[in-house]
């Protein structure tokens, strides 16, 4: 699943969460969220990704292709310690 918006920010966090809730309904047990198109993530956007994880059964939401600015937010908040994060989508799919 790919996040298409370049900004995952406070203005878009609610819509992103709603969209993801729908998108993962009846989803397979493992979902990879491709964040390669997102070049700006703020604390609200991060909260939306954490919330989205709770929509996936067993919390099996994994992340791929974090841009440097997005990776920084995950690192500084230590949320990179609770998500499986892949450098790119092919490696995520290979698992």
């Amino acid at each position: 699943m790919r996040a298409e918006e370049p900004r995952l920010d406070a203005a878009g966090a609610l819509a992103f969460k709603d969209h993801l809730r729908e998108a993962v309904r009846d989803a397979p047990p493992r979902v990879v969220l491709d964040l390669g198109a997102v070049d700006f993530l703020d604390s609200s956007g991060l909260g939306a990704v954490v919330a989205a994880r709770k929509f996936v059964a067993n919390g099996a939401l994994e992340l791929a292709a974090l841009t440097p600015a997005v990776a920084r937010v995950f690192r500084l908040t230590r949320m990179d310690s609770v998500f499986t994060i892949y450098p790119d989508v092919p490696q995520a799919i290979a698992g």
Partner: protein, 137 residues
């Protein structure tokens, strides 16, 4: 030295628009992408706080003034909302294991700024902060 001032309506979409304007502006435009993304993240957290808390989502107006000083970006952010809480010098991030959905904003601001001063003057919250270009965060 370039200096730039942007006024913004205190709602989240207007904050986004103001940040995009600043990103392309005279102060932040010439920076490296990495330096620019750090100051934009700090400004986003501060400005969203103004929209959501100082004005309680009921609208209002704020302003951001940016300028360069000694390898850093200086920012002064002003609003006329409710008195802003002090951002503690040491602010822990929420425990990741709890899967928190909020509470990241103030710790992010703290870890990314070199200096931060807050005051209340003439009914305004005034925040002045400094983010180094070579911030290693």
């Amino acid at each position: 030295m370039p200096r730039e001032r942007v006024r913004f309506r205190a709602d989240l979409h207007a904050v986004r628009d103001a940040l995009i304007q600043l990103e392309r502006g005279a102060v932040l435009g010439p920076l490296t992408g990495e330096s620019r993304s750090v100051i934009l993240l700090v400004l986003a957290e501060v400005m969203n706080n103004i929209a959501e808390h100082a004005y309680r989502g009921e609208g209002g107006e704020g302003s951001v003034c940016l300028w360069r000083k000694d390898g850093a970006v200086m920012a002064r952010i002003v609003d006329r909302g409710l008195p802003a809480p002090a951002i503690p010098a040491a602010t822990d991030t929420p425990n990741p294991a709890d899967l928190p959905e909020g509470g990241f904003g103030m710790p992010l601001i703290r870890v990314l700024v070199r200096e931060l001063a807050q005051s209340r003057r003439c009914g305004c919250n005034v925040m002045q902060l400094c983010v180094d270009d070579d911030n290693a965060a």
